[in-house]
Every structure is written in structure tokens, then in C-alpha cells.
Amino acid sequence: MTAVDTRPAEPGPVDPDQPSASADALLARRSWKSPILFGVFAILLFILLVPFGRGGKAIFDFTSTSQKDAYQIPLLTLDSHLTEIITAIILVLMAAGSAYFAVKRRKMPLWYVIVFTVIVVFGFLVWTSADTGHNLTITSLLVGGLGLSAPLIFGGLGGVISERVGVTNVAIEAQLLFGAFLSAVAASLTQNLFVGIIAAMVAGVLVSFVLGAFSIKYAVNQVIVGIVLNVLVLGLTTFLYEQVLVGNASVLNAPPQLTVINIPLLSEIPIIGPLLFSQTIIVYIMYVAVAAVFIGLYRTRWGLRLRAVGEHPQAADTVGINVARTRFWNVALAGAVAGLGGAFYTIGSVGSFSQDMTNGAGYIALAAVILGRWDPVRVTLAALLFGFAENIGLAAGPMGSAVPNDFLLMLPYLVTIFAVAGVVGRVRGPAAAGRPYIKS
């Protein structure tokens, strides 16, 4: 054999476990996105709490308005200045901690994000209520937050089901709004709340039928169909509201309201009782729905097939699963779930329907789907985050906050943008979501 040897031969087997120096340098790249986001929040809060800190006292009130607690937690009075400084220091330390995760190339655990968020909120509340003379009524703040979250959770679950089966669901807003409308009218006409709840689900399913027919059968772009549906339902309900409901409000728009059901014993636990166990039937259905979708998605045949169709429809087809049918009926189911969320706006809280009463909640629910990475439990947590953020915005004003009210109302949207852009980053949704399956 001839050999043009210019370099010494590498003897023996190559050692694969010894990456060379240049490869090592490459490995050193890390993701700094989370630490940067945490850092920005920590610095903002630090500036707010320390140089612009407000003195006086922050009084926390944990009792429920109904005063049914088995045990009355006494008022908690904190010195604002001291609390603000301690909070600011903790936040800075936690931001540093997130940098540590990045350096070690470890994934930040979910609890870390939750704890950080809670402390940010806590610091803001102490600051905003300092020296106003108002008590911070924690329980009612939480109850209100859950109330705003409930439709988002239903909408989010609807989004999860629909997107996991491969149909992008931008029409959550339409499903919520139509659900709100139809449940109010049906319950008002029949004076029967059960009929109202069913009507809300029917409304969501009707929207889904249109979405399903166009996007599955005719392969129209799913996002476009969704947006058109949102606009259509907004126009339709507004028209009917102004032309029909306003004139005949006593017949068509005077539904009864769902009553609060107190779960014996559980509802008397301080804070948790009024928050979780003193709610309407819709909220209890919501608990069941979250658990059912979670277990169903991962542990049942329904869930396995649904995810298969959303990930790789052709593979599902070759094992005898009817892709179009699976998609259509699950999108319908998603509509029913989201529609229930709509009922929460009317018979679940205020009773009567008013124009555009969902006010963009469907889009927030869509953001929760993405932030929650298409997982029912994470999506629920994301929806809770958005709901609570919105409620703090609403409640802080009356509590005498120094921040202008209009700014506070932007809070949920700011949180959404930060959360989706920062924490989520690049995520992988269901591989075939948004893509029609056309057999050749």
C-alpha cells in the first residue's frame, strides 16, 4: 500500500469520551434568557421598593367576607419599609440563583418560578398599600382572582384539546362569547340554570363545527378561520344584544344566577375554604375538567389517539385511526369545554349578558395554552397567573394604590407578554397542529 504520510498516525482506538479543547469551548454556551428576565424583574422591584419605598404599615386581612371561617386568623401588620427591603433582597438573591441554574446548565424548576412570582406580587402589594389606611383583604383578592381565571381555564383546556388533536384553536374567544350569550338567553327563557349550562356547551360546539368543517374538511387555514369566527361571533352577539336583548331584557336577558354551594367543613377552612370550596357548580365542574383532561390525555385510549393524530396524522392513519373524524369530534369537545367557560360570565357570576363581555379573554387563554406548553395542568397554572394578575390590577386601585388605574389594568397583558416571550422561549407544540391532513 502506498501512503502519503504527512502526519503521525493516530494509534489505537479513538477515545470518544475525551472531547477536545475546542469542543469544550463550544459546550460552554448557555441560555441566559431566564436569568435576564428574573434580573429585570428583581431590579424593577428593587428600585420600586428601596429608593422609592413607602413607609407606614401594611395590614393583611385573611378573613373571608362571609365570616364563616372555623378559625379567625388575626390581622397581620407589617412595617412597610422593613418588609419592602427584605422582599427586594430576596428577589435579588433569587435572580442570582437563576443565574446559578444557567451556569450549571440545569433546568429551572417550576416551583422556583412560582415562588418568585408570588414574592414579586407580595412586594408590590405591600408597597402599594403602604400607609393608605386600607387593609389588604387577601382572601377576597384570591377569590376574585380565581373568578377571573375560571373562564381562562375552561378556554385553555379547550385550546389544549383542540391543538393536541392538530387543529389550532384561535376561536376560543368566539366560543367563550357565544357560550356566555346563549347560556344567558336560554336560562332566561326557561328560567332553568341547567338548560343554561347545556346551552353554553352547545354554543361552543356550534362554533367548533364551523371551525372543524372549514379547517378539516376544506383545509382552509385554521388561524384565519379562527379569527373570522371571533369577529363573526362578536358582531353577531353585539347585533342581537342591541336589537333584540335590550328591548326584551326581562324575557331574554334576565337569567337566574347559579348559587354558591358550600362544601361542608372544607368551606370553613380559612383562606382555602372560601377560595376553593365556596363556589358555584361551574367551578366544581372546572376542577373535575382539569383532572379529567389531564388523566384522559395521558392515560386513556382517547388521549393516546388524540395526541397521535396531532403529532403524526399519517402514522395514525396507517394504524387505522380515522384522522378527520378524530379531529372533528375532539374539536367539538374542545368547543363544549370552552363554551362552559362562557357560562361563567353570565349565569356563573353577574347573570345577564352584555356586549363583548369576554373582552379578549379568549386570546389570553390562547396565551395560557402556549405558556402552559399544551399540558392541562401547566395551562391551568398559567391561566391562574393571568387571572390573578388581572385581579390585582382591578383591586389595587380601590385600595388606594399610588399607581394610575389605567396602568394597573395593563398588568395582565404585560404579564402575558413577559411570560410568553421570556419563560416559554422556543417550545415545541404538537407537531401537526395547524396542518390539515390531506390523503392522496
Binding site: 477536545s20 469551548a25 392515560r299 389517539r305 402514522a315 396507517t318 387505522g320 385511526i321 407537531a431
Partner: protein, 505 residues
């Protein structure tokens, strides 16, 4: 179960993909289906599996006529298929993929333990090592294919179709698959085996049917020589070995030094690799699939983003240049996965032929496509590269696998090249087309272009290479002359350098 196809006919528009096909496969028989690219083999099998509906003809199982409305029906009737493009869900586990479509439930919940047991039981029967809880996306292709086989067997498939199963396998995996097929045959399964590799045919086939242009053109004995089989397939005699003169090499054209690549999973895929390629020579990169060859070629083309080291072509640094400038520097590239990386299935042949040349004359003038020029160009290339198609307006996704590859070749080889990188250039091609592609690669070399050929096929490496670099776990085990024996190459592919081997640089 005995399978009979009678008078199967399938038209795609004016094209007759299957023309009154007759085929019978006995239980316990491996029946090889041979034929050039576009002969209609996959179409026939898709009809059998219920994916396509035949225009006429019938399918009989044990003499009973069947009517399959979809794959579900075919599966229930006992037909299994290992598709060339695996039908597995990447984010599911092996057990979930195997149970999908015929899930067992216990009290409403998926009975995963039953599915796992099934996977283990079938694996044990054939001596596979497949972890039922592994995610598909983490498994090498060879193992994924086993999952496909387990999937079919878990449904008690009595007729099993393998559509070009070996195209993506390493030589070792291919040998193992042959053993599995023989075991299946012993247990009474009827097997249809489609391949372009004649060595495999002679190893396992009991009977051979040859198709050409949608028709069955004859049967052959497993004892037939390669040349006989090849000429029956292509309809003319085929040169099975490449004739090439000794390389007339020039300057060091491509110089790579200290190249390392970190892949998407954060693993070191290419680890400090250095080599040169002279103008007018072919450097073949051999090695078992997945040892960093893909990442190496992608780094050369600038589509890997975590790269260190230097890449110099004719004295010009290529590293960190945007892809369009690398193309402009004259780098031609045939990626390994033509469907995903080289072609747009919904574009026509003509459009695909000008994909990377849309930024100037002669295809674009003043922002407008020169459709007339494009049509002439495309017609000429389709003729030159013998792309079997109804016309240049056909969508590429409708072409047979081999013809898609020819479109990529035609595009890349019709540019003015300074470097040509071909990864698995003949994967899925029939013998006639392989002959043609090899001739073109050698012609490219002889025109003074440095050529890199990445191949997991030793036959191809030995046929083309002037020098051979063997890659193992991201590093070059060594660079040896083109006439190194297969035994030595085989050992090197396992990471060993046999004593006495002279390693060139």
C-alpha cells in the same frame, strides 16, 4: 396466509403506475420485488395496504377477495407494512407506538404494562433489544425499524411488506434484518421484500418478480447473477463497477482544520477533525451511520451553528459565512435526507431545479422569473438525468423516491462547482441510476473539482474513493488509500486501526 394480487391497475392521471399486475406470495416465502425507480412497486404495496384504491383488479388472501377501505381494514386482515418512511410518532414511547390503534384498556385506562409485555415478548422471540419505554426520537433508525416490525407482528401480521427497508440501515443492521426475515419466514409469514441491492436479493429471496414501467416483466431465480438481474430490471445491460482512471490531483482545494460541531442535543458530534481534499480527487467518508458524518457535511455547508475550527476553500474562509455566500463560493451539496432538506414537495420539478439560483440571471431578470428559460433548462435536465416523469410541471412530491434524488443531483451538478459534497448520493436508487450517478461523480472529479462522498455503503466507498476517511464517534480513525481492503475498513468503522495499516493524511 397466501396472498394473491390479480390484475391490479392504478392510474395517476395519464400515467399507468400499475398495469394489470399479477403477484402471488406463498406463506413461508420471501418474495423479492425488483424494479427501477418509478416502476410502481410502492404504489402496488400501498394498494395492498389500503392506502390507495386500485382502479381495477382484486386482492385475495387465502383465496378470499378482500375490500380494503383503509389501512385499518388491511391490518385487520393480517397485512403488515414496514414503510420506507417510518410511521412512528417521535414523542411517543415504543410501547405507546406499538399499542396505538389497538389499545388494550383496564378500567378505562391504557394498559401500558400489557403493551410493554408484548414488546418484550416479541423482542425476545427475535433477539431484539428494544426498551419499551424509550422515546422513538431517541432511537437510531435501525432500532426504529425494529419497532415497526414489532408493530406489525403485534397485530399478528401474516403478510409482511418491507418497502426498501435497508436503504437507511448500516451493513450490520442490514445483516440482522436478513436474519429476522428468515426467522419470520420459518414461522410461516409471507414476506414481500423491495430492495435495490442485489446482494440482499440473492441472500434471502425465494422468488423474484421484476417490474418495469408499471408492468411485471418477468420472474428470476435467486441463483441469477447480478448482471442478469440488473439487465432484467433496467432493460439493458448495466455496468456494475465504476470505471475510473487514477486521479489527477491538483492543489489542496479544501482545507479543514480542527473542526468541531455540537449538535442540537448539546453532544459533541464532530470532534476536532482535520483533513484536506485536493482538486480532482474523491475523498470518501466511511463509517456507520450516526458517527458525525451528517454534522460534518452540514458544517461544511454552514447549516450547523455551533462550529469551531477552520474551513478554507481555495484560500477563502467558509466558516461563519451565510449559506447563500457558501453556495456562491461554488459548494454543491446533496443532503442525506432529500425529502426534508433538498426538495419542496409541493413545487414542480422545474421550480425545484432552480431553488438555490433564484437570485439572478439566467433564471431571474429584473425580479421576474424567466419561465421560458426555466422550461428549456428543466426539460434538458430531466432528459439528461433521466428523471421518469410526466413532465417538468409535475410536483416533486409525486415522483418516486429514486427520481426525487435525480432532481437534486441535476440541480446541484448543473452549477459551476468548486466543491461537491454528496451525502448518501445513491440511497434508494436502482442499479441503472447508481451507475449513472457514479459516472457523474467521477466526471465531476475529473473536471478538477474536489469531491467528498459520504456513504455508509462500503461498496460505494470502495468504488468511488481515491482516499477514504473512516469516521467513528465524531473523530477520524484514519485516512487510508482508496484500495484499502474491506476487512481493514470494517475494523476501522468499529474504531480500531489494525496493526500495520498505513494511515495517510
Amino acid at each position: 396466509m397466501k396472498l394473491e394480487l390479480r390484475g391490479i391497475t392504478k392510474n395517476f392521471g395519464a400515467l399507468v403506475a400499475n398495469d394489470h399486475i399479477e403477484l402471488a406470495v406463498e406463506p413461508g416465502e420471501i418474495h423479492c420485488l425488483l424494479g427501477e425507480n418509478g416502476a410502481g412497486k410502492s404504489t402496488l404495496m400501498n394498494i395492498l395496504y389500503g392506502l390507495y384504491q386500485a382502479d381495477s383488479g382484486e386482492i385475495l388472501l387465502d383465496g378470499v377477495a378482500q375490500h380494503f377501505a383503509g389501512p385499518g381494514d388491511a391490518m385487520r386482515a393480517g397485512i403488515g407494512m414496514v414503510h420506507q418512511h417510518f410511521m412512528l410518532i417521535p414523542v411517543f414511547t415504543v410501547a405507546e407506538n406499538v399499542m396505538l390503534g389497538h389499545e388494550q384498556s383496564k378500567a378505562g385506562f391504557l394498559d401500558l404494562s400489557a403493551a410493554r409485555a408484548k414488546v418484550r415478548e416479541i423482542s425476545a422471540r427475535f433477539g431484539f433489544h428494544v426498551d419499551p419505554d424509550a422515546l422513538i426520537e431517541d432511537l437510531p433508525v435501525g432500532v426504529q425499524q425494529r419497532v415497526e416490525i414489532i408493530k406489525a407482528l403485534s397485530r399478528d401480521a401474516k403478510v409482511l411488506v418491507f418497502d426498501e427497508p435497508t436503504a437507511v440501515l448500516t451493513p450490520q443492521e442490514t445483516d440482522e434484518l436478513m436474519v429476522i426475515m428468515k426467522q419470520l419466514k420459518e414461522s410461516g409469514t409471507a414476506i414481500v421484500f423491495i430492495t435495490h441491492k442485489l446482494r440482499e436479493v440473492r441472500e434471502v429471496a425465494d422468488r423474484i418478480t421484476v417490474m418495469r414501467l408499471g408492468k411485471v416483466v418477468g420472474e428470476a431465480e435467486p441463483t441469477a447473477t447480478n448482471a442478469e438481474l440488473a439487465s432484467l430490471m433496467v432493460g439493458r445491460s448495466v455496468e456494475l463497477t465504476v470505471t475510473k482512471s487514477t486521479a489527477v490531483t491538483g492543489e489542496h482545494a479544501l482545507v479543514v482544520e480542527g473542526l468541531s460541531v455540537i449538535d442540537a442535543h448539546g453532544q459533541v458530534a464532530v470532534d476536532d477533525v482535520s483533513f484536506e481534499v485536493r482538486a480532482g480527487e474523491i475523498l470518501a467518508i466511511a463509517g456507520v451511520q450516526g458517527n458525525g458524518q451528517t454534522e460534518l457535511t452540514e458544517a461544511l455547508l454552514g447549516i450547523q451553528n455551533r462550529v469551531t475550527g477552520t474551513i478554507t476553500l481555495d484560500g477563502k474562509n467558509l466558516r461563519d459565512l451565510p449559506i447563500n455566500e457558501i453556495l456562491e463560493a461554488g459548494v454543491g451539496f446533496i443532503p442525506e435526507d432529500r425529502q426534508d432538506d433538498a426538495l419542496i414537495a409541493e413545487f414542480t420539478i422545474a421550480e425545484n431545479l432552480m431553488l438555490d439560483r433564484a437570485d439572478g440571471a439566467p433564471f431571474v431578470k429584473g425580479g421576474a422569473l424567466q419561465l421560458k428559460y426555466l422550461a428549456e433548462f428543466a426539460t434538458e435536465k430531466v432528459r439528461e438525468f433521466d428523471v421518469r416523469t410526466q413532465g417538468i410541471g409535475t410536483m416533486v412530491g409525486r415522483l418516486s423516491g429514486g427520481n426525487q434524488q435525480k432532481v437534486v443531483l441535476a440541480r446541484e451538478l448543473s452549477r459551476d462547482l468548486r466543491l461537491f459534497v454528496a451525502a448518501q448520493p445513491t440511497r434508494g436508487l436502482d442499479v441503472g441510476s447508481i451507475e449513472f450517478v457514479h459516472e457523474r461523480i467521477v466526471a465531476t472529479r475529473d473536471s478538477g473539482v474536489p469531491v467528498i462522498v459520504v456513504s455508509t455503503e462500503l461498496d460505494e466507498v470502495v468504488a468511488l474513493a481515491d482516499r477514504i476517511a473512516v469516521m467513528y464517534r465524531g473523530k477520524f480513525v484514519g485516512i487510508v488509500p482508496g484500495n484499502t481492503s474491506r476487512e481493514v475498513l470494517g475494523l476501522m468503522m468499529a474504531g480500531e486501526v489494525p496493526a500495520g495499516t498505513e494511515v495517510a493524511a
